[in-house]
């Protein structure tokens, strides 16, 4: 089942960033173009205005009219305008004194010598016109002199076009630069999410510690929700452990009563048939107690494997305590338990309860499957960075059964005979070892019996 996929955050982010970049590029283009046009028009207008004013100033009143005497300066100013065509018109009052009498007049009379600019179509082209007015006294009567100078702006619009093209290019470049940058920004922004996902994804299937990775404030609600989920899961597992313990209690106590009563009955009964029945009963009780114990141990080992709280464990001390623990059991069969300690302390990184469970099952098996008055030797050694524990017995061996078969749940060797067992012991051993990155091997020992080997990585010195 795959969850319905919402649009990718990354794609959304990139698309939005690119849209923003496009808008910015267009705005940039418009702004560059507008201000460039403005700047060039202002420059040209200033020259046109100056020339117009100069022209207006060079008109003098004369008898019955006005005299225009254009100075070379004015001409050179007009000439500086490049290849533009120039039109002019000088009006005195309503009459056109000279120039093109169809050059459009301004809508209003400009004030004194402040030129008025306007653009207008004229003939087959667009002209920019500067209009200047001036008062003259002609024949002692005031008259208004209006000077218009028009200029085509072909050059300027070509320049403006060029500028616009360049502005467009700049806009495009800005946009193109924005593409990788927004991809980068999106990745960068989404990295904490990826990191969080990796931190959670890297965990083993049984790692139920709360997530502690540093997260940006926006992700905190997600992490809080995740951690509360993990806490609930842990709670459920802890209940499972409590349940395991309770279950054990409720199974074992009545079994203990049953066994004790049966033993008493056996002691007091003189009838051999009844005694045989009672023996079978006690055996059955032992079997079920052992099975229940192994099942619960197995569940506990699985639970601990899930919940591992690794610590530094010294195998020498652990093995010694176990050997002491098993000594009375071995003694009942007149067996000797020997511990050959390692030359150095064997510190490993693991769960003492799991190691103990593994080792206990090995020693238990060794005693169980060995004849009376034999020896079981536990040898500890450090070998090539590994702490190695060998448990060697002189028992019946495993009759060539393969380790995989023996470590499967409820599988027992072909030669267990009538020795009671649940088929879980070696499963517990191999699962405990696997949980701690250790290794478990079972070999036929030289001579007779079995040699079981546990190895765990030694803690780095």
């Amino acid at each position: 089942m795959t969850a319905r996929r919402a649009p990718s955050l990354r794609r959304r982010l990139v698309v939005q960033l690119l849209a923003l970049a496009a808008v910015l590029a267009v705005l940039l283009f418009a702004a560059v173009r507008f201000s460039a046009e403005r700047a060039s028009e202002a420059t040209l207008d200033a020259i046109l205005g100056a020339a117009t004013i100069a022209m207006a100033e060079e008109i003098r009143s004369a008898e019955g009219g006005a005299v225009i005497d254009l100075s070379p300066g004015t001409f050179s100013m007009l000439a500086a305008m490049g290849d533009e065509r120039i039109f002019y018109r000088v009006n005195l009052g309503a009459a056109t004194l000279t120039g093109y009498d169809d050059l459009p007049l301004p809508e209003a009379v400009p004030a004194a010598l402040a030129p008025m600019f306007y653009s207008t179509p004229y003939r087959d082209t667009q002209v920019r016109i500067a209009a200047v007015s001036r008062s003259l006294r002609i024949d002692n009567r005031p008259a208004t002199l209006l000077v218009l100078v028009g200029q085509t702006r072909a050059g300027q619009s070509a320049i403006a076009q060029g500028l616009a093209n360049r502005a467009a290019a700049v806009g495009l470049v800005v946009f193109l630069l924005a593409v990788p940058l927004s991809l980068l920004a999106a990745d960068n922004l989404l990295r904490p999410i990826a990191r969080l996902a990796a931190a959670v994804g890297r965990r083993g299937p049984h790692d139920l510690r709360p997530v502690r990775a540093a997260t940006p404030a926006e992700l905190v609600p997600l992490v809080v929700a995740l951690n509360s989920f993990i806490a609930r899961l842990r709670g459920t597992l802890a209940q499972t452990e409590t349940f395991i313990a309770e279950a054990a209690h409720h199974i074992r106590t009545p079994l203990a009563v049953m066994r004790t009563e049966a033993e008493m009955a056996l002691h007091h009964s003189g009838d051999e048939a009844t005694r045989a029945r009672l023996r079978r009963l006690i055996r059955a009780v032992d079997d079920s107690a052992r099975s229940a114990g192994q099942l619960l141990d197995h569940a506990t080992v699985l639970y601990r494997a899930d919940q591992q709280t690794p610590a530094e464990v010294e195998l020498g001390a652990l093995a010694l305590a176990l050997i002491e623990r098993f000594r009375p059991t071995a003694e009942m069969k007149d067996m000797r338990l020997t511990l050959v300690p390692a030359a150095v302390a064997l510190w490993v990184h693991g769960d003492a309860v799991l190691i103990e469970a593994a080792l206990r099952n090995l020693i238990d098996n060794a005693i169980k499957y060995s004849p009376a008055e034999t020896e079981v030797t536990l040898t500890l050694a450090a070998q090539a960075g590994q702490a190695v524990i060998r448990c060697r017995d002189h028992g019946r061996g495993v009759a060539g059964a393969r380790l995989e078969a023996l470590t499967s749940r409820f599988q027992r060797g072909p030669n267990v005979g009538d020795v009671a067992g649940s088929g879980l012991g070696l499963t517990i051993v191999s699962e405990a070892m696997a949980a701690m990155g250790g290794d478990f091997a079972l070999d036929a020992a030289e001579g007779e019996g079995t040699c079981a080997t546990l190895s765990l990585p030694l803690r780095a010195a």
């Binding site: 209690h249 106590t253 008493m264």
Partner: protein
Amino acid sequence: MRFLLVEDNRELAASVAARLALDGHGVDQAHTLAQAADCLACAGYDLILLDITLPDGDGRDFLARHRRAEHQTPVIVMTARSAVSDRVDALDTGADDYITKPFDFAELEARCRAVLRRRGGAAQTLRRYADVVFDPLAATLSVGDDLRDLRSREMRLFELFVSAPGRILSKEHLCDRLFSFSEPVSDNAIEVYVGRLRKKLAGSRARIETVRGLGYRLTEA
């Protein structure tokens, strides 16, 4: 030996007490931690058998208090809970050993002996029959000045005889006490151990007689 049995399940307590009495031990029962404290205040015990789950508290807390008060009586915890973690806990709290319910009484005895041996033993464990002094804790027989080591099964076998001198003990009865019920036992196993015990008793006035068709009995020559 004198036991204090702290167990809240009265049926189990009664069974265990009766079973221990069968082997000649004295047992006081306590069903709560409070009763256990009362018993300890009034009498001395060789060993305390302590359950973990009790109505008025956790056996391990009791154990910790017991150890803090520097009581030296050895404690064997009887646990019925999920073994793996409980065992470690119990030993960490100061128990001398633990045993998982249901238990084999032979194993319980073996554990008691081991604990008492470690603790330096109880002096009253020496037993005498004829000219033989028997120390079950050290697993030795002495005839005069001659000290003889017994293996565990020989010792347990002799203990059975010494506990019922003159009584005929059947092979089956001896087998039931000497071997685990889940262990294959050959028909002549008992004969083998009786033979060995006779060798260890050689030179003493104690004899293990064969009563044909019935079993064996310990007699004094």
